[in-house]
């Protein structure tokens, strides 16, 4: 192990403190006995228990998950299709315009996206509820999916698709049997990104949510306006835990794959000898 210099240790500490101190405080206070958020009165898990009794939060959590799963799935399908056409479609008329338009929503202020969707839904007389949030989330997260998938498609060896066609596949078979399995990691990454975006979106959801359907971020935001409660700390801690487990398992899986690929490469070298 290399010894770290004082400078390195200091910058590491400051950097990580900057990133994680707020979350650490939040987690610590979620185990606070006292109802007052800023006064420590001993360890307790009672706020977690109360959280489970709070139907409003549970309903909102359920709506959020439902919206996230459906919208990220739709966004993945649409985003992958868009990426495929833009990367593979060759130079058709208006290609530059289309690819520009796919990426524009990435930099569009969320307020504008939310407002325009709201106007649209009112215009066509669609009642605001789960459906409208799903549509709104699909709309903005498909751009992210399309960015992730198209970057994979650009580096994808085109001759693999040609080989599939050459061996008698239709274009759809070539996509289903060759392209899709090989870009699957990017598609899954796109799905996860869309899922996360939908999970923590507040602005667009506030525009498109109706009285019957409130997502968790909206619920938390409106609850916090009445004062931060330890219950919310507990809820946030649970969310942090879920995200942490997800990130760690994802990196473990990719690390294992990398090790396996290395082993295979060594095996191939031995086969050569």
């Amino acid at each position: 192990m290399k010894r770290l210099s004082w400078f390195n240790i200091t910058s590491l500490t400051v950097g990580f403190a900057f990133l994680y101190l707020p979350m650490v405080i939040l987690v610590i206070y979620s185990f606070n006995e006292s109802k007052l958020v800023t006064v420590w009165a001993g360890f307790s898990t009672k706020w977690y228990g109360e959280l489970l009794q709070n139907d409003a939060f549970l309903d909102a959590a359920w709506v959020t998950i439902k919206v996230a799963v459906i919208s990220s799935t739709l966004a993945t399908v649409l985003g992958t299709m868009a990426a495929y056409v833009l990367v593979r479609g060759g130079r058709f008329l208006g290609r530059t315009l289309f690819s520009g338009m796919i990426y524009a929503p990435l930099v569009m202020p969320e307020v504008i996206t939310g407002l325009s969707l709201l106007l649209l839904f009112i215009g066509i007389g669609l009642d605001r509820g789960v459906l409208t949030i799903v549509l709104a989330h699909t709309t903005f997260s498909m751009c992210y999916v399309s960015v992730v998938v198209s970057s994979r498609l650009v580096s994808f060896d085109r001759s693999l698709e040609e080989a599939a066609l050459d061996l008698g596949s239709s274009a759809w078979e070539a996509f289903r049997l060759v392209t899709l399995p090989l870009i699957a990691p990017a598609v899954i990454a796109g799905w996860l990104l869309a899922f996360t975006l939908s999970l923590d979106d507040l602005v667009i959801a506030s525009f498109t949510a109706g009285p019957g359907a409130t997502t968790l971020p909206i619920k938390i935001f409106s609850a916090v306006r009445l004062g931060v409660s330890p219950e919310i700390n507990a809820l946030s801690t649970i969310m942090i835990a879920i995200v942490t487990v997800g990130v760690i398992s994802a990196s473990l899986i990719s690390k294992r794959n990398a090790v396996k690929a290395q082993k295979d490469a060594r095996a191939a070298e031995r086969a050569e000898a």
Binding site: E162, A164, L165, G168
Partner: protein, 384 residues
């Protein structure tokens, strides 16, 4: 080389359908032009390739050979003219409906499928029965000696094995025509030479027509029944390897295939089919025979292969052409040595000799005055 010459003479018993006017070609390019925007990739090209040929498209990169192959596979459309396969125009047949398979330069093996599944891929697309697929894949594995590796993924086998998987996969559907795009480019030299003979064996066993694209002239000469030398979207010459080497039709071909000395000068008739070439001031003209006629004073290029030039310390007697020079450089290649001999005018002529004796006995060395000589029939006289 004399062996090949013999082959072309007794053409009745030898495979040479291109000499038989009654033979129908398997592939016919008819005035095919291919443009990419302003760029002309293939320029009004006409060519016949016959069944069971091992046909090589040879040329520098950008000469259009890959475009020709991709048009045969169906990945590029034809701008003008037409391509026929067994007499039928295939211009509008998509790649998945052609009885043509291709072995890609990068092999394009499906990384997520095993060797077995890779080879079975095309057969499965034809909705063949499981028993049929099993039998055919096993046959292909056996042909390419891959039985032991059928369960492995492409990244778990060596480069040479991958090359064989790609070959097995493209042959599995028993295509009328197999296209090979630089099939041996990724292999090292030793393996490449072994694989060339393997390819020839497999081509003969299966009786499939092979069209190979390569920039390696040695490879083309080794494997092909006929070679087409291409440049800038045009075919310069189509002939058997021996004829391409011995009777190039232009300086371009002579220079592209193998090593050659070009002596440029003006021709003057000297006898029947014999010309004297005046090539430098103060030097005696050289004599060369030619079946094609040259007018008096016409510009001519005499192309002579280095191995057809003799080198000696004393002036050889009875040589048609003998010139004196000085050894500038010796390239020792083990089996051969190439002498770079500088003539008084400054021109350098390469002469090659087989090292039939051990090097210690070599009697010519650097800076030695030497004589180079060749017969009147050794070279080819070319107009351009």
């Amino acid at each position: 080389m004399p062996f090949f010459k013999e082959r072309t003479i007794v053409s009745q018993t030898v495979f040479a359908p291109w000499d038989d006017p009654n033979q129908k070609p398997l592939i016919r390019f008819q005035n095919v032009t291919k443009r990419f925007g302003e760029f002309v990739a293939i320029d009004d090209l006409t060519l016949d390739i016959f069944a069971q040929e091992f046909f090589a498209l040879l040329g520098p990169s950008g000469c259009g050979k890959t475009t020709m192959m991709r048009m045969l596979a169906g990945f590029e459309s034809v701008t003008e003219g037409k391509i026929e396969l067994s007499g039928a125009d295939i211009g509008h047949v998509p790649p998945n409906k052609r009885a043509v398979n291709m072995m890609f330069q990068s092999y394009a093996l499906f990384p997520h499928l095993s060797v077995w599944e890779n080879i079975a891929f095309g057969l499965k697309r034809d909705r063949k029965s499981k028993a049929e697929i099993d039998a055919r894949v096993d046959e292909m594995l056996k042909l390419t000696r891959l039985e032991k590796f059928s369960k492995r993924k492409p990244h778990q086998i060596s480069g040479g094995q991958r090359q064989r998987v790609a070959l097995a996969r493209s042959l599995a559907k028993a295509p009328k025509l197999l296209l090979l795009d630089e099939p041996l480019g990724a292999l090292d030299k030793k393996l490449r030479q072994d694989t060339q003979f393997e390819l020839m064996d497999i081509q003969e066993t299966t009786g499939t027509t092979f069209v190979i694209v390569t920039h390696d002239q040695e490879e083309a000469m080794t494997v092909a029944s006929r070679v087409a030398v291409m440049d800038e979207g045009r075919i310069i010459q189509v002939a058997t390897p021996a004829n391409i080497y011995e009777y190039p039709n232009s300086v371009y071909v002579a220079d592209f295939i193998g090593d050659v000395n070009i002596i440029q000068g003006t021709a003057a008739a000297k006898g029947p089919e014999t010309y004297a070439i005046t090539w430098a001031d103060g030097q005696a003209p050289v004599t060369a025979t030619s079946k094609t006629s040259f007018s008096e004073g016409q510009e001519a290029h005499l192309a002579i292969r280095p191995e057809k030039i003799g080198i000696s310390a004393q002036k050889p007697e009875n040589a048609d052409n003998a010139l004196q020079g000085k050894v500038l450089d010796i390239a020792y290649l083990g089996n051969l040595s190439t002498y770079h001999v500088q003539l008084p005018g400054g021109q350098i002529i390469k002469a090659q000799t087989a090292n039939t004796r051990r090097i210690a006995r070599r009697d010519i060395t650097w800076e030695d005055p030497v004589w180079i000589s060749w017969s009147a029939t050794a070279g080819v006289l070319l107009a351009q």
